[in-house]
């Protein structure tokens, strides 16, 4: 009685959880382009999408992915043999246990009524295989010193719940032959843990046994021209498909920035964990927002994560959507003024013009706010105070930036600058010209030196520096000024 009650409870929690999680895929979205499609519209779009798959070409793609990436998991094998062995041990033996043991009454007993009698040794072997796989997993996560491998509570839960299920199962099978009393006790432990794992499955990383294959299949038949509603749904689902395996962290091009800055959100796998929470609840603290904005913008869009992800997640597009949404929030993102904006610029046609310009204007306004030229009339005295001195000293420390003092205002730098040449009224459009910026540094006028539009529109083409007769390292100084300003605005 009690047992049946537990089974039905677990099954109903599982079913409700499953429906809830799946419904969230259609309810939530990330990015700025999809907001106006209702969940119902997204569901019908998905149905349309799925029904378009019933042709020979698409089915053969799906079939191939099913065999190669889901059954044989070639993606993992390509990354690392040991991890592949680990997962194949867990996957194959657990599937075996699931079919021939957990579901035996449904699947096998009807075919062969005394089946369970001959199963015992096989169950023990399968259990040991799963345990071997789990040991490798623990070994990789806790003993092998893999750089930038992060283990979250959920990763640990996933491994531990399986360890308990298998260990209790093994004891159960063994005591079955010796002590009925013990057997009964352990049977309860085993059943409780299994049912708990089942009930909690839709909310845990174990859900990846459904979502990871789904992500692999979806991405095999979808591309950037697919229905935007379906892409939006897929992107939320992909957050559930991530196994936090850390492959992307290991390959990420900017991982060294993480090593130095220590912001977890720079690492793609950690960003995935963040986004998973974020889609469900978009109210986050200013501090958290700053950290995720830096993390998501500090990405060279090198595609490496997308290429290596064993769950087949299209991270490129996911970053694109998430980045757009996160930079539209009030908090300005200073990294937008650096070449990290390159990929966004290349894709400006994909973003509504107004929304494209807004965050750029925001950050430029903040960075140039102090540059008030109207206050600097010819007869206004220039104050040489402590602050001015400190600024000059900071500029003088290194990186060849101390050369500003050699400037004799010949204006060569401004004459050769292609940005200056591009404007009919450079002074108006750019606030200051390059030689005036150098002059401002010499005078200790930090507000002008770091705040002109000229500075933030400098190409770093080094024409000015190359042509300065006095050896002033103009561009190096500009780069330093930008870092000073970005540091100040943090």
């Amino acid at each position: 009685m009690y047992y049946k009650f537990m089974v039905y409870m677990a099954l109903s929690v599982f079913a409700v959880g499953l429906i809830y999680t799946v419904f969230n895929w259609f309810r939530f979205s990330i990015g700025i382009n999809v907001k106006d499609v209702s969940p119902w519209g997204r569901i019908t779009a998905a149905v349309r999408g799925i029904s378009s798959l019933f042709n020979k070409e698409k089915l053969s793609i799906l079939g191939r992915v099913f065999v190669q990436d889901i059954l044989l998991q070639k993606h993992i094998k390509k990354q690392d043999k040991l991890r592949w062995i680990m997962h194949m041990l867990i996957f194959s033996a657990f599937m075996f246990l699931l079919i021939f043991h957990a579901l035996d009454k449904i699947i096998v007993t009807p075919l062969h009524d005394r089946f369970y009698l001959m199963m015992n040794p096989w169950l023990i072997i399968a259990g040991l295989i799963v345990l071997a796989g789990l040991s490798i997993s623990l070994y990789r996560r806790y003993i092998l010193k893999v750089p930038r491998l992060k283990t979250s509570g959920m990763d640990l839960y996933t491994i531990i719940i399986l360890v308990i299920i298998i260990l209790s199962g093994l004891f159960m099978e063994i005591t079955k032959l010796s002590s009925y009393e013990y057997y009964q006790k352990i049977w309860w432990v085993h059943i409780s843990v299994c049912l708990f794992g089942l009930a909690y499955l839709p909310f845990s990383k174990m859900f990846h046994m459904i979502t990871t294959p789904l992500s692999l299949l979806c991405n095999a038949v979808m591309d950037e021209n697919s229905d935007p509603a379906n892409i939006a749904t897929r992107q939320v689902m992909e957050l559930d498909a991530c196994t936090h395996c850390n492959t992307c962290n290991q390959h990420c091009s900017v991982a060294v920035a993480y090593d130095n800055l220590g912001n977890d959100n720079i690492l793609p796998a950690e960003r995935m964990s963040f986004l998973k929470e974020y889609v469900a609840n978009k109210k986050i603290s200013a501090k958290k927002l700053r950290s995720i904005q830096q993390g998501i913008y500090l990405c060279t869009n090198c595609d490496r994560c997308t290429v290596v992800c064993p769950a087949g997640i299209n991270l490129r597009e996911l970053w694109f959507s998430a980045r757009e949404e996160l930079i539209q929030r009030k908090q300005p993102v200073d990294l937008m003024m650096t070449p990290f904006s390159y990929f966004r610029g290349l894709n400006h046609q994909r973003i509504d013009k107004e929304k494209y310009d807004l965050p750029l204007e925001n950050v430029l306004n903040v960075l140039t706010a102090d540059c008030d030229l109207s206050a600097k009339t010819l007869d206004a005295p220039i104050v040489l105070n402590q602050e001015a001195n400190e600024f000059r000293q900071a500029m003088g420390i290194s990186e060849r930036t101390d050369t500003f003092s050699y400037c004799f205002s010949c204006e060569n730098c401004s004459t050769v600058c292609p940005v200056v040449i591009n404007y009919a009224d450079p002074q108006q459009s750019l606030d200051l010209l390059p030689h005036q910026i150098i002059r401002s540094v010499a005078l200790g006028l930090k507000d002008l030196a770091t705040g002109s539009k000229m500075l933030w529109n400098c190409l770093t083409c080094y024409q000015c520096q190359e042509h300065c007769p006095q050896g002033v390292k103009v561009t190096d100084i500009f780069n330093k000024l930008k870092t000073v300003s970005i540091e100040d605005h943090k």
Binding site: V256, D303, S398, E399, T460
Partner: protein, 298 residues
């Protein structure tokens, strides 16, 4: 046999695979061996204007990896090249900084001492292989083909750091183009910036600069622009393609990466040079190849 470790950076594998493909085909035919290193990461270029220390660490880790292999680096991208050079320069000038960086690198068992030379692909062809050796490999030279060479800022300048070529009157790229039988045209804006560094920051300005250059080289009679950097290539290929619709650009002039040009003249098949992967059509380039009979009669 010449041997280098290949540094492709972030842009090429994601967006301009044809550059790497063509470079590999050409280098292979010239008998150069390339060693892979999966551990290379971003050169640090986009970090330079926001955080100098992080920039240096990103660059230095790559240099230390190459050093560990005991090989010089072949760099395809001029911005990668420039930032690796700049970082190396800065670190070497400051022993204290070098120590600090090495303390960081030690975590991964790496060390930077400056033993590895950072070389751009074009420099390797010009200095290490040599024009005369390349000339021997040219089997199907071009005729009546006018090329505008675009040098690219971050290789050329700051010249005291990059030491790529004479910053005012550079010549190595032109010589490399001439050896294929093509003519290198003179054009006023040759040494100017392509505008790529501002793409995403100020797109209008970025495209203004690209447009000026394209108009200028087209007026100078060039059939193609030729580049040795993925950023420049993107600017003159994908961004030019965008400008066609956004700005009604009329003087379309396609861009080609140098190893595609050289490869064709060396008789390497089109597929191994990724000609079809460019956004603007460059397959017409093949019509400039001298017919066999013309070669014989020379």
């Amino acid at each position: 046999m010449m041997k280098y470790t290949l540094f492709v950076g972030c842009n090429i594998p994601a967006r301009i695979q044809q550059y790497e493909l063509a470079a590999r085909s050409v280098v292979d035919k010239l008998g150069i061996k390339l060693v892979e290193n999966q551990e290379f990461k971003c050169c640090g270029y986009p970090m330079q204007t926001s955080d100098n220390k992080t920039f240096l660490l990103m660059a230095a880790r790559n240099l230390a990896l190459a050093e560990k292999e005991g090989l010089d680096m072949m760099v395809l991208c001029k911005c990668c090249f420039g930032s690796l050079k700049k970082a190396a320069h800065q670190i070497q000038q400051d022993p204290e900084l070098q120590e600090e960086i090495n303390r960081f690198l030690a975590e991964e068992g790496l060390k930077y001492s400056g033993a590895t030379e950072i070389k751009h692909f074009l420099s390797i062809l010009y200095h290490d292989v040599g024009i005369s050796v390349i000339k021997e490999k040219i089997s199907t030279p071009f005729t009546e083909l006018n090329i505008a060479t675009h040098y690219g800022c971050h290789a050329l300048r700051p010249s005291d750091v990059t030491q790529f070529d004479d910053p005012v009157q550079p010549s190595i790229f032109d010589d490399l183009v001439k050896v294929t039988g093509a003519k290198s045209v003179d054009w006023a804006l040759q040494l100017e910036c392509c505008g790529a560094p501002l793409m995403g920051v100020n797109d209008t300005l970025s495209m203004d600069l690209a447009e000026k250059k394209l108009v200028d080289c087209s007026r100078a009679g060039a059939d193609y622009v030729c580049v040795g950097c993925p950023y420049c290539q993107m600017q003159f290929d994908r961004v030019q393609n965008m400008m066609v619709s956004e700005r009604e650009l009329t003087d379309e002039i396609p861009s080609i990466v140098y190893p595609q040009l050289l490869g064709l003249a060396m008789g390497i098949p089109e597929q191994s040079l990724g000609l079809g992967m460019n956004m603007l059509d460059i397959t017409t380039l093949e019509s400039f190849i001298k017919m066999e009979t013309e070669i014989d009669s020379e």
